[in-house]
């Protein structure tokens, strides 16, 4: 059924279809309408779940960790400083191999306070051991939430579904709500391989020695490093696992997309713009405008950011002469994290070695005009467009140390 609603409602409907059993969340702009909607579903009886209001995001994720450890399908959502407040528990959930799903309505982080969109919040959680998926529109939000539970429970790694605060969370657009019977067949009830049981007490994730040692039965238990090596191994295995999930989704719902990257007019492109989230779609119209002028431009949207599908991305960019990365996040003192990751992928896999240029834009909700994108991409679509390693900033009104221009 096609409806017109916000991205937050799309996410909430996805969680409802997934029949999440425990929801613990703390409201924060722009995520708030998502958790409000879930509490309404539960209050009205449309959704059978335990909604646990908490006093902080740290507690929200702690409750999800406990619920998932006891075998319940669990969900939370947050934004910005709320996500940062979860940081300790985020690492814990991944190390404990719990199949949680969390939505992040992307927002910049303080200080200074901002409530508006950029990607610094979720990108700063890149190295925590969570899978990160970025959605470009409402259809991808609702579908990704369903797929995320499926993936998480198959490989026992938590998944973050990220979407742009306000730009997607508060925009009304049409999308199809999957049929609930098909959703039930796609995502059957969660059967945990192991769950806490008061009748059979156990300690989980206690102090683990640097070396393996015999357990009470005399078997050699893995040390910390083996456990973490297994997380790395399984994260890489999540790349083919996501493809299997996507193929099953496509066969059951009749729609879907490349789960790793979404290329637009890339086949013969000399220059390819790369980005995460809704900005990728805004760049479609820019590529069209440049094509009309005879510039062979394309756009590559990255959906799966962790695990990073480096070979797939390098193959998509291998034949072009320039890669222009547009980012709403920064590794301060260096460059945009996606730009670094793309360079690393190209170094390993690409023969042609296209130049890579990095634009930083839209921080803290600074408006990204399509005209600005057009001008930046046009400048970079030339053989010397990659000159200089410095990050370039779009939309700055006052340069560092300078006066207003």
């Amino acid at each position: 059924m096609q409806i017109i609603e916000t991205g937050n409602v799309a996410a909430a409907l996805g969680v409802k279809l997934a029949r999440a059993q425990v929801i613990a969340a703390y409201p924060i702009t722009p995520q708030t309408p998502l958790t409000e909607k879930l509490s309404e579903f539960i209050e009205s009886g449309e959704m059978q779940a335990e909604y646990i209001p908490v006093e902080s995001e740290h507690s929200a994720l702690a409750i999800c960790i406990a619920a998932a450890s006891a075998g319940a399908r669990s969900f939370t959502a947050t934004s910005s400083n709320g996500l940062l407040y979860m940081h300790e528990q985020i690492q814990w959930a991944a190390g404990a191999r719990l199949p949680l799903v969390m939505c992040v309505a992307n927002r910049g982080v303080g200080a200074p306070w901002t409530i508006w969109n950029d990607h610094q919040d979720s990108i700063s959680q890149r190295d925590t051991g969570w899978i990160q998926i970025y959605a470009n529109d409402h259809q991808q939000i609702i579908d990704s939430v369903l797929k995320a539970f499926c993936l998480a429970e198959e490989i026992m790694i938590p998944v973050m579904v990220c979407y742009d605060g306000y730009i997607l969370s508060h925009t009304h657009m049409p999308f199809d709500v999957p049929d609930s019977e098909i959703a039930d067949a796609f995502l059957p009830p969660y059967r945990p391989p192991y769950a806490l049981d008061p009748a059979d007490p156990a300690n989980l994730n206690t102090v683990t020695m640097p070396d393996g040692r015999p357990d009470v039965r005399g078997d050699i238990s893995p040390g910390y490093m083996e456990i973490r090596h297994l997380l790395q191994h399984d994260m890489v295995e999540a790349i083919p696992a996501l493809k299997r999930v996507e193929e099953r989704f496509r066969s059951m719902f009749g729609r879907g997309h490349d789960p790793y990257v979404e290329p637009y007019r890339c086949d013969d492109a000399d220059y390819i713009a790369v980005s995460l989230g809704s900005l990728s779609y805004q760049l479609h119209d820019v590529a069209d405008a440049l094509r009309a002028e005879g510039v062979r431009a394309g756009v590559l949207s990255v959906h799966l950011y962790r695990p990073f599908p480096d070979r797939i991305i390098a193959e998509a960019l291998n034949r072009c002469s320039g890669v222009i990365v547009f980012e709403k996040a920064l590794s301060y003192g260096y460059q945009g994290p996606l730009c670094s990751d793309i360079k690393s992928a190209l170094y390993r896999y690409a023969q042609g070695k296209p130049f890579v240029t990095n634009y930083i834009l839209g921080l803290g909700g600074r408006e990204i005009t399509t005209q600005d994108l057009y001008e930046a991409l046009k400048v970079s679509c030339s053989p010397d467009g990659g000159a200089g390693e410095e990050t370039r900033w779009i939309g700055l009104k006052i340069p560092a140390g300078g006066t207003q221009t």
Binding site: I4, H170, T171, H172, Q282, H284, T369, T370, Q371
Partner: protein, 187 residues
């Protein structure tokens, strides 16, 4: 950047319901066959009464650009006093349309080659039985009359659905009255 979209920018005050009005029009236009619909609010840290706006983009194809409208075809103004506070019609396309809730006569408005439509939505909405200041259903009637993009009946149905449990009949009546009492001028 694309020229085949219809862009409608809605200006109101925080709490006035501009976003709800734009959402209703979005739903009715989608139901009328426009496949591409995106209603993109621009958020500040709103207080009640502060100027707010939202961009409604409509097309026969999916909308990919969710940035605020820079070159609107139509500007809808829920409070005529906003015209004195901000450059509400900034970027309005040549030959575009401005729809204003105002008690003043249409001949008093001129926007350099644009069509103008005026209705006293505030007064007509009270006549329809709504509390003073509720204008977001009424302005939809003026939009239907002036823009001619979507049938009034489709809008009235969407208004009744949207305001279910919140005076659906009075809201639909306000839209009907404003449709009948919108005066066209300009150019």
């Amino acid at each position: 950047m694309k020229n085949d979209n219809i862009e409608i920018r809605w200006h109101g005050r925080g709490g006035q319901g501009a976003i709800t009005a734009a959402k209703i029009v979005a739903k009715a236009m989608f139901a009328s066959g426009y496949t591409g619909v995106a209603m993109v609010p621009t958020f500040g840290t709103e207080r009640r009464g502060a100027p707010v706006f939202t961009s409604l983009k409509v097309s026969r194809e999916k909308i990919y650009d969710l940035s605020p409208s820079k070159r609107p075809d139509i500007v809808v103004v829920l409070d005529h006093l906003l015209l004195e506070e901000e450059d509400i019609t900034q970027g309005l396309k040549q030959g575009g349309l401005v729809i204003i809730n105002s008690p003043l006569a249409v001949r008093g408005y001129g926007f350099n080659g644009s069509r103008v439509a005026v209705a006293d939505v505030t007064d007509l909405s009270v006549k329809a039985g709504l509390p003073q200041g509720m204008v977001n259903s009424g302005i939809i009637g003026s939009f239907a009359r002036a823009a001619g993009l979507v049938e009034l009946d489709a809008l009235l149905k969407t208004i009744k659905d949207e305001f279910i449990g919140r005076r659906p009949g009075e809201n639909a009546c306000a839209a009907q009255l404003c449709f009948e009492n919108t005066i066209m001028g300009g150019l």
